[in-house]
Amino acid sequence: MLKKVWLYILIFFSLIGPAIISGTANNDAGGISTYAFAGSKFGYLLLWVLVANLITLGCTQEIGVRLGIFTGKGLASLIRERFGIKWTLLAILTLFVANLAVTTSEFAGLAAAFELYGISKYFTIPILAVLIWFAVFKGSFKKLEKIFLTISMFLLVYVVSAFMSQPDWGQVIKSGFSPNLPLDTAYFFTLLGIMGTTITPWGQFFIQSYVVDKGMHPRHYKAERIIIYFSAFFTCFIAAMIMITTKNVLFDHGLVVDSAEKAAMALKPFLGVMAKNIFALGFLAASLLGAFILPLTTAYSVCEALGFEHGIDKKMSEAPIFYGLMGVLIIFSAVIILLPFASLFKIMISAQVLNGLLLPIILVFLILLLNKGKQMGLPEMSKKEKVFYNIVSWEAIVRLTVVSFLLILFTLAPSLLESIKRLFI
């Protein structure tokens, strides 16, 4: 009897373990910065976005897993095979630009982690760029991956920090379920950033390649589905904890996060003098993980769609475009960070916003593919499933497009915002 209970606990943890890890690691340096900024600037105002994101993220990732498991193909391949070369080019360009931004954001995270100790980016970035290139090229990052994943568990300190900051939980829950859209460019900007960092174009390509490369079989689908939703939950849960912490520790004292230093301050009440060290280590690990994965997954998807040789088991001479693309991403990111006027923190958040702007394009492909699923050998969806996937996806696409549109409109024509405000107030 006791043995049986243990067995269930074991199965539960073997499912939830990977979920916690992948869910937590989803929040890279850009994510931490964006959530910290949001919490310290707007308090709980943006919490509702996380609740909405939880459903969107779980749903879109599940679509990715479904497509991957039942077709055995990556997202780039499916877009190419189902929509032809022209649409593929659009999808691939979107992905490439978005990933260029995210890679740059990861490099900004690396630079920021070292600058906490006063080590100049002009010193660290060139060295790291070379190291990352070698690690990706040699494929040795697979061994390092586990270490970084473990370190990125540091984010769990935000859970304790959030509780220690003694928030008014009633207010937290109420805010989580009160969507609002004040006419404020900075608010739109941050909202888009939060969406763009939680649900990413690259994440969508990555999850599908992941289930394909792991050789997941349709019989694994049910278990994987549970993992996906738990993982989405943890991503958004940690994000919420960061927002709650920064709201209570910083926002309430009128402090807005505009650097890694200030972001680290949010952990002071819990970690005291160790706050900076632990934050720096976690920031570094999260950024390194991203800096390895992004060039790789980008080059992989581009080559997969266009039919160039790819894979880290190939030699440089066999897959020149694959390795070339990785080089371009790493060099571009390093150069941007090294620009003297570049603000690391702004880069990180802007990259997430750009992701949010581009995301709807990928989501449209995703939901169209799912709806065409029967032709590709996907099991027939029940009516309920079909409605659920479509509503959630299109809601996200509309939400992103509307916010993007408003943001662009009001940024280009700030006077318009003023006149609209006057009209209503």
């Binding site: 055995g72 193909k73 095979e81 032809g84 070369i85 022209k86 394909v212 050789g215 266009l306 039919g307």
Partner: protein, 402 residues
């Protein structure tokens, strides 16, 4: 000469130059031999209806306009076309197998031209130029920087669409297992598993051996238990042991539990030795004989042996209790008089280089290189022969990714 991308969406006119619709797909016979001729075209009219026309009705086929021989009212619209491969739906933009290059490529465009007086598919374009052409921006490449890279249709094998896997397998069976393994590695696990399953089990096992270990594990887990076991059973026991060692426990046990008793004990014996020793490298399948056998008896014995013995260069002569006496090369055996006893033509143990169970892989390589051995006997401390190491096992260690 024409490319598919240039002719797709071309308007189709009837004999009175009345517009019928536009071309959306071309159909060819699914079973392929030579260059397949175009059988039907798929047309979409202004109302959005799609219908097939036999290619015999086409008068003029060019990228500007397609003219038909008859008037629109007299067209025989076909709705069913069994056994056809759709060029746009099933081939263009899909992955296909390049049999000559033993790789998987993506079809960027298709080349169409006249063969035996019939419009036929001649080959596929996999170049970047093909992508530019398909995008309608081929003129970008003013300096001819990107070259067209064509693969002859006879050397390709589609893997998508409504193809029967057994016909695919028949064609692929002609490839060398190592080349097939390359193709399998290029395909995703799902397609790869389908392909391996479609081969007969001996061929599948040979391909399986050549696949890189990571993918082997993934595929064993992906395949249903029955097919996985059927395939791995056909592998030589030393390869099987390597595979079992690399698998997570539940899968390993699943495979071991399905092995036959004799094979199981051999595998279990081998499992005890660590990978990089002579014991870990060796196979237990070899030809052994007694010293007092005649050459004639030996040759009949060999003829009766099953296909299990992959490499036969030496006959290993042992005493009743398995103690190693010496070896007879195949050449000596064949050239010897039929009544000669093996003990008279064998090279005695003292003159031979042998390996010991716990010898390190590097020593094994040294010994085999120094004495130019294709196979070497592995002995335990009592001079009993337990298996042989063959040169392919050693080579795989020297260059693992080949």
């Amino acid at each position: 000469m024409l490319y598919l991308s240039q002719i797709l969406n071309t308007k189709v006119l009837d004999s009175a130059d009345k517009k019928v619709g536009k071309l959306v797909d071309i159909l060819i016979p699914a079973e392929n031999g030579l260059y397949p001729q175009l059988n039907y075209i798929l047309i979409k009219n202004r109302k959005g209806e799609e219908f097939y026309l036999s290619f015999d009705k086409v008068e003029n086929f060019s990228s500007g306009v397609i003219n038909l021989k008859t008037q629109i009212e007299r067209l025989e619209k076909i709705t069913e076309t069994p056994g056809q491969l759709f060029l746009t739906r099933d081939v263009l933009d899909q992955q296909i197998v390049d049999m000559e290059g033993a790789r998987v490529v993506r079809v960027n465009d298709l080349k169409i031209g006249v063969f035996n007086d019939k419009m036929s598919v001649l080959g596929i374009d996999i170049s970047f130029r093909g992508i530019l052409r398909a995008l309608g921006v081929e003129f970008f490449d003013i300096f001819d920087f990107f070259k067209v890279e064509l693969i002859d249709w006879r050397n390709i094998q589609p893997v998508n669409g409504h193809l029967k896997l057994d016909t695919v397998a028949k064609k692929l069976n002609k490839l060398h297992p190592a080349d097939l393994a390359n193709i399998v590695e290029d395909l995703g696990v799902k397609q790869a598993s389908n392909l391996v399953k479609s081969l007969d089990k001996e061929a599948a096992a040979k391909v399986f051996e050549e696949i890189e270990p990571n993918l082997q594990q993934t595929m064993v887990r992906y395949l249903d238990a029955d097919s996985a076991i059927k395939i791995v059973q056909e592998m030589p026991d030393d390869e099987l042991v390597d595979l079992v060692k690399s698998l997570p426990k539940p899968e390993a046990i699943k495979i071991l539990s399905h092995l036959q008793k004799t094979e199981l004990s051999a595998v279990q014996n081998l499992l005890r030795y660590s990978d990089d020793t002579a014991g870990g490298l060796m196979t237990t399948v070899f030809v052994s004989a007694r010293p007092e056998w005649t050459a004639e008896k030996m040759i009949t014995e060999i003829k009766n042996l099953s296909d299990d013995v992959r490499i036969l260069l030496y006959i290993y002569v042992t005493k009743e209790n398995g103690e190693y006496c010496g070896s007879v090369s195949l050449r000596r055996l064949i050239t010897a008089d039929k009544n000669t006893l093996l003990q008279d033509i064998m090279k005695p143990y003292n003159d031979l280089a042998v390996l010991y169970l716990s010898q390190d892989i590097n020593e094994v390589i040294d010994v085999m290189t120094k004495y130019n051995l294709y196979t070497a006997a592995v002995l335990d401390d009592n001079k009993k022969i337990l298996g042989i190491v063959t040169i392919d096992d050693v080579m795989r260690h020297l260059k693992p990714n080949a």
